[in-house]
């Protein structure tokens, strides 16, 4: 009896595993000879460039200071670090021998040309929703880049997850294929935005919380998440922003990296908006419409609430005269005094150079966020434009302020400007932020 029961169990297990392995196995797609860049239709290449900008491909596939798309960028996950691969058309180290079909399979199914599984650090759970002609356009774009010979770096992931088959298990549980159905309750622009955001834009990859196995919790879509130790705020009804996101505000922010009701894009959003500046305006508008809709209908009432928040925020921003009166003189750890001396040169109202002035702090997402990490990152490292770009500069204070002083001024800013409950564990969060930035 026992032997029989055991054999049944063993056979069942073998069938399950066998079934899993069979399911997980992918064939190698034959390599193709790279063709001259001139053979690709320039208008498709241009379309691909625009879509690649929306997908922010260059961000994760380019090492800091390195050649574009040649890989090496560390994507940190709770399970280890995965390095973005070389997606230049180099035949030996890049994707030069990948056929169009192989590239489609990679984005839809997370599998390389040779049939290996890719870790979901490459967000194919989003890219799977992109349609074939868009993926083909991105293929044309990548195949016309300059090939760069650069070996891919193997991921730093502990056993047993460093066995790529584990990614197959993840896919079995969490990868939902297929295109996103149009929602007839919304117009074409909204649907375009949904297609882009859920697909190539992969916004939820940062802005949606993840479960213990690292998959997005679809029932908590856009409820806030993490990107590179920065808090990606909730974009749905739980948005912590002082002013609600209207479509216009979202468009300004995504297109120009700044909007009057929310401030400057910083941290991981900086390269995203840099890319979106090069995407077609209509697509950025569509994204903005969709994203804004997540936090409620984009109607007159929403716009009014936004302006009211702006007005209230302006009143909280100190004037120079108020600052002059407010300095308390209780010394180094007093948050108000530190603010007056270190921050208020720029973070005050008035003055004749509005383009040099930051947003009113009461509106800043980082001040209103449930996680003090974003504000701490900004205090430590400042805000800087991309190389040679005109853009807002805020210096970092990691050296001039001690930990106690940073905690003090962060707490002051939270209370004084957001009126929300005080953060807890600012000091612990600061330690993490310092470690992360090496400052």
């Amino acid at each position: 009896m026992l032997v029989r029961a055991l054999s049944v169990i063993l056979i069942a297990v073998a069938v399950v595993f066998g079934g899993f392995f069979a399911w997980a196995w992918h064939n190698e797609i034959a390599p193709v000879q790279p063709v001259a860049a001139g053979t690709y239709d320039p208008s498709i290449v241009a379309k691909g460039a625009a879509l690649a900008a929306i997908g922010s491909c260059v961000v994760c596939h380019t090492q800091a200071g390195g050649p574009a798309f040649a890989g090496g960028y560390p994507v940190e996950t709770p399970f280890g670090t995965v390095y973005g691969s070389n997606i230049t058309p180099d035949p030996d180290t890049g994707i030069g021998t990948w056929s169009q079909a192989a590239f489609r399979r990679a984005l839809h199914e997370g599998v390389t040309r040779k049939g290996e599984h890719l870790y979901p650090a490459f967000p194919y759970d989003h890219f799977t929703h992109a349609n074939d002609s868009d993926i083909d356009a991105i293929y044309s774009f990548l195949m016309t880049r300059d090939p760069v010979s650069r070996q891919n770096r193997q991921p730093d992931i502990p056993f047993p997850l460093n066995i790529r088959l584990s990614a197959a298990a993840w896919k079995l549980l969490f990868l939902r294929h297929g295109s996103i159905a149009a929602d007839m309750a919304h117009n074409a622009e909204w649907n375009r935005g949904a297609y882009l955001a859920e697909g190539l834009g992969h916004c939820g990859a940062c802005h949606t919380p993840r479960n213990a196995l690292g998959a997005e919790k679809h029932d908590e879509a856009y409820n806030g998440g993490v990107g590179e130790d920065w808090h990606a705020p909730a974009l749905n009804a739980n948005s912590p922003a002082a002013a609600p996101w209207t479509a216009e505000a979202a468009f300004q922010y995504l297109r120009n990296g700044w909007d009057a009701h929310h401030g400057h894009a910083s941290g991981p959003m900086t390269p995203v908006v840099d890319g979106l500046a090069k995407a077609p305006e209509s697509d950025v508008r569509a994204l903005a419409v969709y994203i804004a809709s997540l936090s409620g209908a984009d109607d007159a009432a929403k716009a009014q609430r936004a302006d009211a928040a702006l007005k209230a925020a302006r009143e909280k921003t100190p004037t120079v005269a108020a600052l002059a009166a407010a300095t308390t003189g209780s010394g180094g750890t007093d948050g108000a005094a530190i603010f007056a001396g270190a921050c208020a040169t720029c973070h005050r109202s008035g003055g004749q150079t509005p383009n040099a002035r930051p947003v009113d702090l009461a509106l800043s997402e980082s001040v209103n966020s449930p996680d003090p990490g974003n504000l701490l990152h900004i205090i430590l490292s400042g805000v800087h434009p991309q190389s040679r770009e005109r853009g807002f500069i805020m210096p970092g204070f990691s050296a001039s302020l001690t930990d106690t002083q940073i905690v003090s001024v962060a707490a002051y800013i939270r209370t004084h400007f957001s009126g929300k409950p005080q953060w807890t564990g600012i000091d612990v969060r600061l330690g993490e932020a310092r470690r992360k930035t090496g400052s």
Binding site: A46, D146, V320, R348, G350, A356, R388, I393
Partner: protein
Amino acid sequence: MNIPHSRRAFLAGSGALVISIQLNRAFGQDAGAPKPSGPKLPGDLAKFPRLDAWIKLEADGRATVFAGKAELGTGIKTAFIQCAAEELDLAPSQITMITADTGLTPDEGVTAGSHSMQDCASAIRYVAADVRATLVELAAARLGLSVADLKTENGAVIAPSGTKLGYGDLVAGLDLHRDARPDIAIKKSTSFSVIGKPLARVDIPGKLTGGESYVQDMRPEGLLHARVVRPPGYGAKLASVDAAAVEKLPGVVKVVRDGSFLAVVAAREDQAILAMHVLEDAARWDNPVQLPKQSDIQNVLRGLPNTPTTILDRGTVGQPGVKGLRAIYARPYQSHGSIGPSCALAQFDGGKLTVWTHSQGVYPLRASLSKLLSLAPEQIRCIHTEGSGCYGHNAADDVAADAALIARALPGKPIRVQWMREQEHGWEPFGPAMSSQVSAALDAGGKLIDWQYEVWSNTHSMRPGGPGNLLAGQYLAAAFTPDTPKPIPQPEGGGDRNAIPLYALPNARVISRFIPRMPIRVSALRGLGAYLNVFAIESFMDEMADLAGTDPVEFRLKHLDDARARDVITKAAKEFGWQANAKMPRGRGQGFAFARYKNLGAYCAVAMDVSVDRQTGIVKIGKVVAAVDSGEAVNHDGIRNQIEGAIVQSASWTTLEEVTFNDKAITSRDWSSYPILRFPDMPDSIDVQVIDRPDQPFLGTGEAGQGPTGAAIANAVARATGARIRELPLNPARVKAAIGV
């Protein structure tokens, strides 16, 4: 460069012109009248031939030299010392160089236009040589020897017997209150021991160890700090200001108001800054003058009334040749961007005003202040004190006027005015936006047969001048209007500086269109029109070389007879390793350019390679090699330093810089809104080869590199990408748009 009054009169041949130089020195020397005839003395010595205007010997054997040109951070003071030391046979350490002080030095006008070596160093050499000869004559008389028996060395006259008479011993008999002798011989280069030999800059050690070096470092007893509140835009009038709250702020001594000129004075600098911000918030202004659309500025400028002058008309233009090309080149407003915003100190005591200023022209400033304050020039002393690099007419004169006005409101108190970063960026007079059109044709042999060039530009000089050229002067209750702008005539030129190519062109015409109306405040920025004109001409030469199927270096040599021009070109090309038609990987290219500054000054050729980032459009400069011929080289390292600096500064202008404005005001107010190149953007290497021309006249150096660098970059980018960009700057967006996906 503004031609100083006295020289203009001299050139007009006004005969015996009495120049009254107001000197407060104990000796009470005056510089004398210029010589109306006879062999000409060199440089500004011709205007001020009296020896004791330039030099004084002390009883301890030291010499004090009075130079009318100022040290702007270029190292010129050290070069002057070398010139004096060489001709005097006195160690450089024994020479005190005093520069640009209306109380002490001759009126050498403005330190600009790369004229300092020609105008001042030449004079110093002759003066020193004359004094040395005089000392020898004195010694000969005292020793009963002939002049031919004596030599000078290290501050002493030496007899064949070995008897030494130190210069200090001879001072008693020395009368330098006479004109320099035009027949005095200066040394030949073969006997140099100081000129052309390395000498470390005299000012660097102090600047690197915290010495008091700048006007910003002055701290006289009782100093008060002032800040000015400027309008929101050009021409806005102060409607009202409630200064009551400001007057009560800690440390505030006074709020000064005169019409729309508004300032606050306080005991501490931080108090003045705080008070300025509060006063700024309290002030209510009428609307500023409306500004044109920035995106349309070239059309706007070309559409304004202009006066055309044909500055070159050679042969018969209109030859069609076998092939031809036409192109338009343009440049936006660009900023001096001095790293230290302008600063001045002033004190008004018993009816006399003293101003410490980094102005390039202390005498013109004094004349202007005299009219601004209705004070006789003799009652004003302007003392040049270094500021940060100015690169032309920045806000130095304006802040001096601010300080003078405030000092008058608080007599007896030393007043310090420091402009804020936003004020310097917003109110300085910019390098003018300008454009040019060029068309040319090639003959069957691939040589230029026809050349037509036309340039549109505002004036490049609104220096004081009248009191309306001082910013504060325009905003007083009894406001002064700025001077009517005038073009600087050829051969120096303003907007048309370097508009005439040095190349041998059989049929050529150049028309300079002078636009008086200035929607944006402008004046001289290093190089003046030469930057755009050389950019245009040298870019176009490359385009024509392409059309002719000839290597660009070879093409230039084909059209140049000037041997020194050929020398810098071949030297730069050789040291760079220029390969004709070099095949480089996509995205990399080499570029070359050449010019002789004003066709009168230094020769400079620049070769470089660049790589263009396809994804971002960023132009990264790799190796740069330049060759420069500044005539006789006094301080080789000084020349190299200036050309290296020119290359970096021009690279920043050419790949990045552009003043921005909306309909009300300048909007580029700090380094975030007016970025300049930073360390990571620097070229990989810069190698400057100095071609020394012993015994040849000095040609200056400071502005020779900017034009060729700009064109070399554009030429390299064209070669790297196949995209020819003619509108400055070649910023990432413009380059990306030109190269496409």
